[in-house]
Structures are given as structure tokens and as C-alpha cells.
Symmetry: C2
Amino acid sequence: MKDQHGTITADDVAALAGVSRWTVNRAFRKDASISAKSREKVMKAAEELSYVPDLLATSLATDRTNLVALLVDDFANPHKLVMMERLTRILRKGGYDTLLVNTSNEEDTSAALLNASQRRVDAAVLIGISFNDQSLETALGAKRVKKLIVFARMSENDNTISICCDDRAAMATLTQHVFSAGYRNPLFIAGPQTQSAHLQRKETFLSLWRHTAGRRPEFATVERYDPKMAYDLVTERFRDVPKSKLPDVLVCENDALAMGAIDAIRYEHGLRVPEDIAVTGFDDVPQASSPHYKLTSYRQPLTDMANALVDILEGKIRSKKLNAFVGNLVIRASA
Amino acid sequence: MKDQHGTITADDVAALAGVSRWTVNRAFRKDASISAKSREKVMKAAEELSYVPDLLATSLATDRTNLVALLVDDFANPHKLVMMERLTRILRKGGYDTLLVNTSNEEDTSAALLNASQRRVDAAVLIGISFNDQSLETALGAKRVKKLIVFARMSENDNTISICCDDRAAMATLTQHVFSAGYRNPLFIAGPQTQSAHLQRKETFLSLWRHTAGRRPEFATVERYDPKMAYDLVTERFRDVPKSKLPDVLVCENDALAMGAIDAIRYEHGLRVPEDIAVTGFDDVPQASSPHYKLTSYRQPLTDMANALVDILEGKIRSKKLNAFVGNLVIRASA
DNA sequence: GAAGATTTTGCACGCGGGGGCAAGAATGAA
DNA sequence: TTCATTCTTGCCCCCGCGTGCAAAATCTTC
């Protein structure tokens, strides 16, 4: 029990249990070949000393850290909170810990990735938006990031794994709902158009609407998924526009934008939602259900997606582009 | 360049640079004694091989991981997103990475702490709420968590470090504002009352108000910092209450509660904010500034607090109870 | 009860790098 | 030029645990 250094190692347990250090370690691995008797002896001694295997040393020896880096750059979007909660919970259940990496400082993305690689993460999961092909290549290049996973977004990059809900199916459902509710003059509000990992929502909506209503709808773009951006956009764009020329529904790429849009419609233009202009969102964040927004939205099957992530980490899924997850439309008063 | 295993180690760089492995490692430490010439040689070779020191091995050898566990259990409060952003950014600047640990599954807190300890985090930072003395003791017991820090909350526990804004000063400012605005019949809405790490806001407000207005105000409590909880509370509590008996201001322990309260006032009782009932919050979350809420709130000096956290990790600050951080009142239309 | 089959255990070595010491090189003083 | 300092560099051993193999222990079978 050489507790001098503060830490108790397998050696200490071995001494107490009267076996060798290796037997102690074996007792802590489920697949090891060890007799029930000695495992019991070891476990008893371990408990007495409150010994736990050191993951640092384990990782070093096995080249497997059970650590996943979660890269987030978009802290203005409340949906990120939901994703983080779900991902951390399910990853933990799968035996993985989560390294939270803030990449909102643009030039830091590459450095952050480098840093994660120095910790030998088993995978880097991107749930942000502003990463470009160069970051991806950097990450996968000489560095030690084993897997690069884009979550809730599609990346065409061959070296990247994507887990994404079926935007086409989702937008089809949404379009259908909007159209049959009688809206005929939509405006699509999209977030930043990134090259390497994008959403299909805008394109899909535009083309679906054209097929359904025979007319290509207008769209507008903001540079961040920030309610304030959508607020300003709607404020500016509708200023001095006669009511008859306004769209009758705003189809927003996600709830963050939709909430900003609703506020602008109400507080800048003095119009009603949905009577004057209806609004739809995407993600179904908690605030969407508040009586203020009552936002019609689309809920992604995050749990399924997170479980797929774990399966990918475990090597149980080899496919690189998973985009068949189907969620469900949550219809509320806003549209 | 034995790239067989995929990783390049200091040995490879040493071979290329024509020095010993130890010289290579020295080149990567700022305080090491090494000649400018050989450092340059090493760096050049390192860049050529795109070598970076392995943090796993470094941590194992130095007993210092530069890793901080962030324990969060309260993902319904949007302020957590703000805190996470700020903390991760500033910790990174200070050379620390962040392990995000989800403790919203109550019984998992202890396990999560254990897990973090297995990774030998330099500190565990609690920004959640539902941890009790037992968790704290468990964490500090035989485990390897070196420092336990309660952030944005006060803990009296001797083994714990607290970094908290001066709730007394904050509430004094807020009380002063509310009183001089002419409100006379406040109701304080508080979150869960935990024993080991609590806020001073309720007690302070109650006592300050009594001194100022001569009357002890009422208060109510919800069991989570969730807008929905406050919504339900306000809905129920004010049901069938004659208007003259209603409070004229709701002083909420934070914005999450305040936002739920505002929605209930408006949508359940058909009353106006602030004309019928005013509302104040705390934290100044991004949504508080939306035209819908225009919430009068108090902004904690999160950056200063995060910097203090880094100083504590670096050992530059030894004090264990830091609670003199003063923020500022953000006055908006809600009160 | 002995020989073979099988399970369990111990051990050398490796994972990638750090602390501290001693030898070697460079610098300064006399 | 010589000797003493100071700076650099190389190296042993250690951090805590896993892998693969060989020795030891246990179990089968006839």
C-alpha cells in the first residue's frame, strides 16, 4: 500500500490480494481469462483500497481513449444545448466521454482539432457549421484524429462520416403541411451556406414547392443561426412593403431563425402570426413550444442518431453516409 | 521514420534532427534548457514530420492533464449555454481542455465524477445544481479529482472552491431598482433549494426588502430552473386571484424562471408585463433581450469569473471562496 | 494415476514522454 | 592558457497498464 504518491495502482491491489499485478488488471476487463475466485479476491481488495484503473495509462497502452471531441461553434442556437445533452448522455452510456471544444473563434478550429488530436480522441464530432474543407483535411491529415463525424448535417467529403436526418423527407412533410394549410407565397429563410457540410433543406424546399405549387419561391440568407440575424433580416426586408406583397408564410431553416422572425413580424411590423404571416421552424427546441411562439417545427430523431454515432464508434456500422433518419412534424399554431 | 504504427514519436524526430529523443522533448517545452540552435533543428524536423507531443503520455508522466471536467445537470436553462461557451473559451486560452459531463441523470453524478477522476482531470467544475454533500465527499474521497470547484454558486464545504458573483450586492442593486420604480408587493420565485451549494439571492432579497419596505415579501419555489416550472407555478398560483391581490412584481432567481413567468402572466392570465405585473430575472441570457421579453436582468461578470478559475487552476489564487464578483444590472422594459 | 488438454497466472517488453543527474561542451575569469 | 562556471545534452528509471507468450496449475480421460 505505497500510498505515498496519493494514487493507488494495480500493484497495491495485487499486494493486498496476494496475486500479481496482471491478475488485478485482468479482473477489471470483462473478456479476460481469469478464475472467478481470484477475480473476487481482487475486487475485494480493490474496493478496500478504492482502486480504479487509470484511463490515461490504459489509453496509452491500448491506443484507444474512449474519448470523443465535440466541436461546437454556434452557441447562439439553443438547439445546440439539446444536442449536447443528448450526445453526452448517449455517448456516456456507450462508454465514451466527451471533450467539448469551442470553435467559435474561427481561426481556432484548426488549433482545436490539433489539440483534440494530441489527446488522441477516438473521433471528432462536428455539430457546428463553420468548418470548411481545409479544416477537414487538416484534421484528417497528419494528425491523429481517427474518425471525423459530421452530425446533423451532410458532408460529401470522402474522409468524413455523416449522420443526418433525411432532410428531403422532412421537407417533403413540411412542404405538404404548409401547402395544404393553404399558404401560397412562402419565403425561405436559410442560414449560412457552407460548402463542405450543408443541409438539404433549402434546395429541397425550393424544388418541392415548385413541383407542388408551380412557382419557385423566394429565399433569403443570414450569416449565422442567430435569432437576431433573422430578426434583422425580416425587419429590413419587409420594411415599407405593402401588406399584399408580403409572403404568407416564412419557412425557416431552423427554430433559431424562426423565433427571430416571429419576433420581428410582431414587434417590428405589428403583424400577427399566423394570421398575417405564418412561420415554420426546424429542430423543435424547447422554446418552440412556449405559448409565445407555438412554433410548428420538425423534430429530428436525435436519440437514434446519437445511437448510430455510438455504433459507428464501435465499428458496428461501416457506412459513411447515414442520412435516412426520419423525425416527425410537430404542428403548432404558428402555421 | 518508422511510420508503421501510424504515429510519429519523438524518436522519429530525433533521428531526423540528429539529436537524442530528450532534446526533442525539450524543444517543445518553453522552460527547458536547450540551445537555440538545436531547438531550431528539432522544430524543423518536427514540422517536416508534423509531429506533435502526445498529451496522453505527457499527462501520465507529469501527473497533470490540463483537463477540466465540467459537470452540467441543468440543460433546460439557456444560461448554461452561455457559461459553457465562456468557460471553454477561456479555459482553452489558459491551456486547458474541457470534459463535458452530463449529470442530469441524478444517480449518475457520482459515477460521472468517478469517471472524470479516472481521467485524472486537474479539476471538476460544477455548474449544475443538484449535487449534494455526499457527491462532493465522494468526489474528493479516495478519487483522484484534485480540485472541486463550484462555479456561479456558493458552497460552504471546506473541501470545495467557490467562484460566485456577489449575490448580495447584485440583489441590493436589483432591490433598489425595483423599489424605486415604485413596486411594493413583490413575489420572489426561487429555484430548488440545495444544501451544499446555493445562491444567496432569495434570502438576500427577502431581508433587503424587509429593511427597505418594512414588509417581508412572499416567495415561491420550483424544483428545477425550467421555464415550464415557473410557467406552471404562476399559472396555478394566480388562478382565480382577484387582480388587486396579485403581486405587482415577480422577482425571479434567474431568467429561465422569469421567462416562464412572463409567458404565464400573458398567456394564461391575459395580463400585461410590466403594466399589470412586472418581472425581473438574473443572468441576462440572450433571449432576455428579445422584444418579447425585454427582461430586466443582472449580468454576472462571467469572463472575470472564468479568468479567476484559470488562476485557481494555475495556483495563482489560493483563496477558496471567491464571491466578490460584481456584475451589472441590465434595465429593460419588463420592470 | 499418468498423460494430455485446457485454463490460469506471471513476466518481459512496450505505449510516449518527463525528472533529475552526470558527462560533455561552451563560456568566463584569472 | 588554464581552471572554474554555466549551459547543453544524453541517459536511467519511472508514470500505470496492456499484449503475447511461456510456465504453472487445474481438469479430463482412459
